[in-house]
């Protein structure tokens, strides 16, 4: 993920052309958890879904190589793609979850490019399903799911009914490497193609980006000789 991000000259966003894209690391953790649950025979089938332009199929293939059974590519490109945010994606996921009769929707807790941390929660709200977010441990117990969540004060354990939405946090698992045989098997797995309109979802954004700027450059520090000097300086610039 070592990429130098540059703001577009017109300040409307960041430059994404020619920048290498790959699966969001928290989504990798989500895929791993789903595949694990299937291996433990708690769930029957894992469907990998991604919304975006054609390149997104590469990411779906990686998910298939990790063990998902089939993929769905929801095609969004051009202006719609630039304006696409958590709400639009949540609507798509909600529609798909109903269509596929899913018992679980597992996502990464947030994307590391926009850090929104909204899609999972919005999806649950639209479906009116319970949500287990920031999951660091997931256990299926009959028709319920026990989720240990990472919260500011420590860990919280909840039990929610299925169908449910889960979002994966860092310590949920360590994603596997795809094996050579699985990469080859993935070639034969199907990726269905559809558009948001097919799911009855309107992609109109309710958010208008006014301006994108780089963070201010860090100024040089100032060295002081004594603690008194430090206190004086902090008082002078209004910090204390």
């Amino acid at each position: 993920y070592i990429v130098t991000i540059r703001v577009k000259p017109d300040h409307s966003g960041v430059v994404t052309d020619g920048v290498k894209h790959s699966m969001n690391p928290f989504c990798e953790i989500a895929v791993e958890e789903a595949v694990k649950l299937k291996e433990k025979k708690f769930i029957k089938e894992v469907v990998a879904v991604s919304c975006g332009p054609t390149q997104v199929t590469e990411t779906i293939r990686t998910a298939l190589a990790m063990g998902c059974d089939r993929g769905i590519h929801v095609e969004v490109s051009g202006k719609d793609y630039e304006a696409m945010g958590p709400l639009q994606i949540a609507k798509i996921f909600a529609a798909l979850a109903k269509k596929e009769e899913a018992s679980l929707v597992i996502l990464g807790k947030q994307a590391i490019d926009d850090d929104c941390n909204q899609t999972g929660q919005m999806t649950a709200a639209l479906l009116d399903w319970p949500q287990g977010t920031f999951a660091s441990e997931v256990t299926i117990d009959g028709e319920k799911v026990k989720v240990v969540r990472e919260i500011d004060g420590g860990l919280e354990t909840i039990k929610i009914s299925m169908p449910a939405v889960l979002t994966a946090d860092l310590r949920l698992n360590t994603p596997r490497y795809a094996t050579l045989p699985n990469i080859m098997k993935a070639k034969k797995k199907k990726i269905a193609n559809m558009k948001p309109a097919d799911l009855g979802v309107d992609m109109v954004s309710r958010v208008e980006v006014l301006r994108v700027d780089e963070p201010p450059t860090r100024l040089a520090g100032v060295k002081v000789e004594t603690v008194d000097d430090l206190v004086a300086k902090l008082k002078a610039n209004g910090t204390i």
């Binding site: 993920y1 070592i2 990429v3 290498k20 690391p25 990798e28 590469e58 293939r61 990686t62 190589a65 590391i112 990472e150 919260i151 500011d152 004060g153 420590g154 860990l155 946090d169 860092l170 310590r171 698992n173 360590t174 994603p175 596997r176 490497y177 795809a178 094996t179 050579l180 045989p181 990469i183 080859m184 993935a186 070639k187």
Partner: protein
């Protein structure tokens, strides 16, 4: 954390944010956490990756991406330690085997991945960016595995290949002797037939993995002089009469032990012979064709890594008031390095395709590729070291290890002089 292969690709500034949460989280995030180990010593060769991926199928790009990830997370952080402490990284290699790297071009029915020579070259090139020495050993292991798979009968294949594919057992290739290196066909190790056993007597030199591996593919003389008198037998560890010399101290390739293999009245069952009597030299040479592609691939990976390291250094290091990357001589040098890298890669991949298609020019092309690629890539890595200035000479920086590790690629699996012999012979025999 899982015991099977896993990766952590999350940058440290993002990790730190996610761990600011609570004191409990901080405790969980120990320094042993492999995320942080990855970041301490990480080389991400993504920029050049796009060029290295040109012309590959989607599937090959997946293999390549996976191999690069494995190299960056499982090998690169340890490469310096393995070199310094001379550790044979058995656990890491077994993790690689779980992904299918133990028998990449071995057939699936005995546990292999059944991939092509080109797929293999792409994979070794990627793995080599993590640790040349370990990848080179994995390639030797693969070569031996393939030899049994291709020339062995059903019993031999079923006995040896599955465990070699999982790397439950490791293999060594034993051809060279103290008295026969380039003149391999003059080897002296004898194998006298007595009943249903061969009695082997002789010694092999410079054997990669020797002493720590389980399965030894030994070329020995069952017949008269010259190549037609040589056979190929599989000698298993702990066979009475099989012993090893001291561990050699080498300039590079330190993550694999190198020892002499000594055979004194070593009894090997006739059922361990691969193919016919007198076929051994041919088997050895067929193995080496692929082995040469693999070794050259390792050189290529090292050069790929070094071009990136040199580039990064030039952007950061300042002298005479500006970054070295503003210096035209260095810009030109870097351009030449990158050009030779791409040229090497194309020749190597062409040779790999020729080999997998059994083209008539395959042997010659493999020799050309081995010659050109190992020479050019050594020069690239050496140049990269020079561009680092004094820092290039310190073991704190990876570039010196790449240089030391690939130097031997110009020597083994047939010296680059022998490569010229093979090419010349092929050229001169065509006319007339």
């Amino acid at each position: 954390m899982d015991s099977d292969g896993g990766k952590g690709g999350i940058p440290s500034h993002i990790l730190r944010r996610h761990c600011k949460r609570s004191r409990l989280s901080k405790k969980l995030f120990t320094s042993e956490d492999h995320f942080s180990t990855v970041l301490k010593n990480r080389f991400k060769f993504d920029t050049n990756l796009q060029i290295a991926a040109h012309g590959l199928s989607d599937e090959q790009k997946e293999f390549q991406k996976m191999a690069f990830d494995f190299a960056a997370h499982e090998m690169s952080p340890h490469m310096a330690e393995w070199d310094e402490k001379e550790i044979f990284p058995v656990e890491t290699m077994r993790k690689a085997a779980q992904l299918g790297f133990g028998g990449i071009y071995v057939q699936p029915e005995v546990g292999g991945s059944g991939l092509s020579r080109l797929d293999t070259s792409v994979i070794f090139e990627a793995l080599s960016t993590g640790c040349v020495s370990t990848t080179a050993y994995i390639s030797i292991h693969n070569m031996c595995n393939w030899m049994i798979d291709t020339f062995g009968n059903t019993e031999q294949r079923e006995k040896f290949c599955p465990e070699l594919c999982t790397m439950d057992k490791f293999a060594s290739y034993c051809l060279t002797e103290p008295g026969s290196g380039s003149d391999a066909a003059s080897l002296l190790t004898t194998a006298k037939l007595e009943g249903d056993h061969y009695i082997l007597n002789g010694s092999k030199a410079f054997i990669s993995g020797g002493g720590d591996t389980d399965v030894y593919i030994v070329m020995c003389r069952t017949g008269g002089k010259g190549p037609k008198g040589i056979s190929c037998v599989v000698v298993e560890k702990d066979t009475p009469g099989l012993s090893f010399g001291k561990k050699e101290k080498k300039v590079g390739w330190n993550s694999q032990p190198t020892r002499a293999v000594i055979l004194e009245d070593c009894h090997v069952p006739v059922t361990n012979r691969l193919g016919q009597e007198g076929q051994g030299f041919n088997i050895a040479m067929r193995g080496l064709n692929g082995g040469r592609i693999n070794i050259a691939s390792c050189s290529l990976g090292a050069a790929h890594a070094c071009v990136q390291l040199a580039r990064d250094h030039l952007l950061v290091r300042k002298q005479f008031g500006e970054a070295l990357s503003n210096n035209q001589f260095l810009q030109f040098k870097l351009a030449e390095m990158a050009t030779k890298l791409v040229a090497s890669r194309l020749l190597l991949r062409e040779a790999a395709v020729a080999l997998q298609e059994s083209r008539s020019d395959a042997v010659s092309l493999c020799s050309m590729a081995k010659l050109f690629v190992t020479d050019e890539c050594f020069n690239i890595c050496n140049q990269a070291l020079q561009m680092h200035g004094g820092y290039g000479y310190l073991k704190d920086y990876a570039v010196q290890q790449f240089v030391r590790d690939i130097r031997v690629h110009q020597i083994l699996e047939g010296t680059n002089e022998v490569m010229r012999m093979i090419i010349a012979r092929s050229l001169l025999s065509e006319s007339g």
